[in-house]
């Protein structure tokens, strides 16, 4: 992501408020636009379908499950493939990306089609929905895969264009198909799938254009899965933790409570967008540059005292990002908490949801903080520590929401406490790493051990 980092830095270096705002808006677009657009399309479909005759409730439930499952299952693939791509870009063997990517795409399409088939069977969807549902699952799974490669190789403009074109098309096509040939939920689903297919097509085209014509067909992705398995498990645990509390509520308190809880959590999640943007811009600009400077100086022959200075700058920048992310999130959460009754009313939730929404907002903020810590540890290649945070988050969220649900306390409180504990743990791990940056950089070097 170095390319986008330089662009962001140039915007900030203009020194104008407009430049800085533009940089952070770009951060918002890159980090949040895909899921914001998808959420907007689904919400729009839900609002429009209130007056329609089709079985949209079934379609909506299916889409929610499809997104949840594809996000969780593709997260490990996403991490490994993006890391593999970054490694090949670093060692200047870009020709080794295409062949494994082709094979991975084929496997992803087949695998997620089967998963989609399993979902339509598990949800007892009618045949018409099932025929569209399985391919749609494959399309969304493939989108995640393309994002993992495209994130490192494509311009963010192209990424945004893919979703910016596909999302409205999904909405328009869904409505058009349903109107032109009333087929109930299947019509919606078919139209939605068509739009998503366009997004996938644009992503594939963007990736293909970024890859060289010459390819090394002997390149293999599997060793990367072995090497980065801890990162893969981290991603899996983190994404499962996002859904774990909803599943717990569904199991303990039933479908209606789960839907209510999920709606609150989904809306609360919007409060993290500013922090996402802050983290993205800071990590991709100042932190990345200091990190890069450290290694450039190291490889360039800097003596110890200079390396220590660079390590200190990295440490300062990491603390700056953590403090900044905390400040941005506190500001955002404070606003959301203050405006909770209005927000709850605006999204059509009952007034009782206000206090729960406030807790959910706090929890979302903590969870973003955890994500930042994982990101920093991953930068330092501390995979085990990253996994510890993600594992703690998953176990904590599951256990505490379960406990709260069982004893009659709001499950969202369990989620909040779990996220807070994990954020503290992450803080300890990051702090420890920052103190031993030079030591760890050197003393972990392999030498003569088989």
């Amino acid at each position: 992501m170095a390319g986008i980092g330089w662009k962001l830095q140039r915007m900030i270096d203009h020194g104008s408020l407009a430049g800085t705002i533009a940089a952070y808006l770009t951060g918002v677009a890159v980090t949040s636009a895909p899921w914001l657009l998808t959420t907007a399309v689904l919400t729009s479909l839900r609002l429009i379908s209130r007056h329609a005759t089709g079985d949209f409730v079934g379609v909506e439930r299916f889409l929610t499950v499809v997104y949840a499952v594809t996000v969780v299952l593709s997260a490990p693939i996403h991490v490994v493939v993006s890391r593999y791509t970054a490694d090949r870009l670093y060692d200047r063997h870009i020709e080794r990306i295409a062949a494994p990517l082709r094979r991975a795409t084929a496997l992803t399409v087949v695998g997620f089609a089967l998963i989609g088939a399993g979902l339509v069977w598990a949800l007892h969807l009618p045949l018409a929905l099932a025929l569209v549902g399985a391919p749609l699952t494959a399309v969304i799974g493939a989108q995640w895969l393309m994002l993992s490669v495209g994130g490192g190789m494509m311009s963010p403009i192209l990424l945004l264009r893919a979703f910016g074109v596909g999302a409205p098309l999904s909405l328009i096509a869904a409505l058009a198909v349903e109107r032109a040939a009333p087929a109930g939920g299947a019509g919606y689903l078919f139209g939605f799938a068509a739009g998503q297919l366009v997004t996938l097509g644009l992503l594939v085209r963007g990736v293909a254009r970024a890859l060289p014509a010459a390819t090394d067909d002997s390149a293999r992705l599997f060793p990367a899965f072995v090497e980065y398995r801890l990162l893969a498990w981290s991603a899996f645990a983190y994404y499962v933790s996002i859904w774990a509390d909803k599943i717990v509520v569904y199991v303990v308190r039933g479908a209606d409570a789960a839907a209510f809880y999920a709606a609150i959590a989904a809306v609360a999640w919007f409060s993290v967008i500013p922090a996402f943007a802050w983290i993205y811009v800071q990590v991709e600009t100042a932190f990345y540059q200091r990190f890069r400077n450290f290694y450039a100086e190291l490889e360039g022959g800097a003596p110890l005292r200079e390396l220590k200075q660079h390590a200190e700058r990295i440490s300062e920048e990491a603390k700056h990002i953590l403090r900044g992310a905390a400040a941005v999130q506190v500001g955002s959460t404070t606003l959301v908490i203050a405006a909770a009754p209005r927000i709850v009313h605006a999204v059509g939730l009952s007034p009782d949801a206000g206090p729960l929404f406030r807790l959910a907002s706090l929890g979302a903020g903590m969870q973003v903080f955890c994500l930042l810590e994982v990101l920093l540890l991953t930068y330092f290649d501390l995979r085990r520590d990253a996994l510890a945070i993600c594992g703690c988050l998953l176990i904590g969220v599951t256990a505490l929401t379960c406990l709260c649900s069982a004893i009659g306390w709001p499950p969202v409180l369990g989620h909040l406490v779990a996220c807070a504990i994990t954020a503290l743990l992450g803080l300890v791990l990051v702090r420890r790493r920052l103190q031993t940056l030079v030591l760890d950089t050197f003393q972990s070097q392999p030498f003569g051990v088989a």
Partner: protein
């Protein structure tokens, strides 16, 4: 016996089990020479062993890595009871794939956790710091090293080891590129740990034929067993390493695009070269301090040893010696010119036969010899032979051959390879040495034994061998010409002078023969070593 942790780190390759072997009278420790390299020190070692048939010898060869030493170049005498080999390095490993790297990371993580849980600080690390950073070389430093309580993984991945590295960076090499320093630190100390962990070879006394790694190992074993140590230095180990370091291309001098000066006269040497240099001096000090006798070959070397930390009272000069034939060898030119013709250019009836006798390696500076011959050939007719093995450094040998070809001297300068001494000197008129470093070259003594004059650089004992050491010795007269190091014009001028002045050549050859007869006989050298060995073996 020292514990060895992890088979991957152990590479001793001992030919037998030193724990059960019968202790030899003398354990001779050599580094990179006998019996796998011919000539020089190896010849001397072979000669000493053969000269003491009443003593049993164990030979400990310290090599770089398994397999690099090749086949033995000497038939071991019957009084050698064991040949052991210790290697400083592991052979290179193949690059790891993703799964291998992942497994290695896990291994290192586990190791680091175990290392950090260590209750007591390592004595070896403390010893290394005192040896290398503080410049100490006392018995307590040796005791710390002999404790062998530091494993290689602890050195490579432990926090205390990294603290030593940063101490070195701050106090010894503050300007060194830290990445390079890190790898050099590993390259310096990993071999030391292998040596510390090597099983002790039992002997009644230890004799290190150099300081360096062999000297360190000998000092350790001497300390562990309580048996005395003697060190013989032909060249001065630390000084020879300095010369190699000055030419080493595996040390990066450029920092931030600025290259450090590397010429020999430059007052600054790069921090990494300095680091290595101080390490080799530390090794020498350790051996000097533990040794009961320090034997050197010349006054010049004695002074250098004292400067490098050798206690003067321990140093004794025992010159090398050669076996003379029954009766002195006649000088080469049976009919020397009349005295009144000495100042006249007296061209000999045939081309002067000039020999470079020795290994074709950089330290012998064959390049200067070739250039000197090229210059001299412009004035006189010479038949030049390079006599000695060339396989030790094939790249250097090839460069020398290319230089001869490029100068168009292939018909005059020939590489004839190794030959027995009887065939070498009987067919020469002059021997030339252009070495950067020497101890007390046997070549000179052999040349003298055959009545040949010598041109040699002013290194080691060469000057006193040519001009005389004592007043009586000097009265014999010069037996050759001393030149500066790396001065081809000076060497060439001496060659031209001796080629044109046959009588001078004859006089110098005769002086050499007289000198070797009086001061450099093999039987005298062996008698002195016999006395030294007996004293060490019988020591309580």
């Amino acid at each position: 016996m020292a514990a060895v942790d992890g088979a991957a780190y152990a590479s001793f390759g001992l030919s037998d089990d030193p724990e059960i072997a019968e202790p030899a009278d003398v354990c001779l420790l050599v580094e990179g020479t006998y019996p796998f390299v011919a000539g020089g020190v190896s010849s001397w070692v072979h000669d000493v062993i053969q000269g003491h048939p009443e003593l049993s010898f164990a030979v400990l060869y310290v090599g770089s890595y398994p397999g690099a030493q090749g086949e033995p170049r000497y038939q071991l005498p019957s009084n050698v009871v064991a040949l052991h080999r210790v290697f400083c390095q592991e052979s290179a490993l193949a690059p790891l794939d993703g799964a291998g790297r992942s497994a290695l990371r896990e291994q290192i993580r586990t190791l680091r956790a175990a290392i950090d849980a260590r209750p007591e600080p390592s004595r070896v690390l403390a010893g290394l710091q005192r040896m290398h950073v503080d410049g100490e070389a006392g018995t307590d430093v040796l005791a710390a090293l002999a404790s062998n309580d530091l494993t290689l993984p602890e050195l490579l991945h432990g926090r205390p080891s990294f603290q030593l590295l940063t101490t070195i960076a701050e106090r010894v090499a503050p300007d060194a590129p830290f990445l390079d320093l890190f790898w050099h630190y590993r390259a310096i100390f990993a071999p030391v740990l292998r040596l510390l962990a090597a099983p002790t070879v039992q002997a009644r006394c230890y004799h290190a034929v150099a300081t360096g790694y062999a000297g360190l190992l000998a000092a350790l074993w001497s300390h562990r067993t309580g048996r005395p140590l003697m060190v013989t230095e032909h060249g001065i180990y630390a000084r020879e390493r300095d010369m190699e370091l000055a030419r080493a291309d595996w040390i990066r001098d450029e920092v931030g695009g600025v290259s450090e000066p590397r010429s020999t006269w430059a007052p600054r040497i790069s921090p990494l070269r300095r680091l290595w240099s101080s390490f080799f001096r530390a090794l020498s000090r350790i051996a000097y301090v533990q040794a009961r006798h320090i034997i050197t070959l010349s006054d010049a070397n004695r002074v250098k040893q004292i400067v490098d930390g050798a206690p003067p009272a321990k140093i004794e000069i025992v010159p090398n010696g050669v076996a003379l034939q029954s009766g002195p060898q006649p000088p080469r030119d049976p009919e020397p010119p009349a005295p009144d013709q000495r100042s006249v250019i007296a061209l000999p009836s045939r081309r002067m036969r000039v020999g470079f006798v020795g290994r074709v390696v950089p330290i012998k500076d064959l390049v200067t010899f070739v250039r000197a011959c090229d210059i001299a050939l412009n004035s006189v007719d010479l038949d030049v032979r390079v006599i000695g093995p060339a396989e030790e450094d094939p790249g250097y040998a090839a460069r020398c051959r290319q230089l001869v070809a490029r100068l168009g001297r292939s018909s005059s300068i020939q590489f004839v390879g190794p030959m027995p001494p009887a065939r070498i000197y009987g067919d020469l008129d002059l021997v030339v040495l252009t070495s950067f470093s020497e101890g007390q070259p046997l070549v000179i003594l052999e040349a003298y034994a055959w009545g040949l004059p010598v041109i040699a650089t002013d290194v080691g004992a060469c000057r006193e061998m040519i001009e005389g050491r004592s007043d009586d010795d000097r009265r014999i007269g010069p037996s050759g010409v001393v030149t500066r190091v790396a001065a081809p014009k000076e060497t060439a001028a001496a060659m031209v002078r001796l080629a044109r002045d046959v009588r001078l050549r004859w006089q110098m050859g005769a002086a050499g023969h007289q000198r070797v007869t009086a001061y450099y006989q093999r039987k005298d050298m062996l008698a002195r070593y016999r006395a030294l060995y007996e004293g060490l073996i019988e020591a309580p």
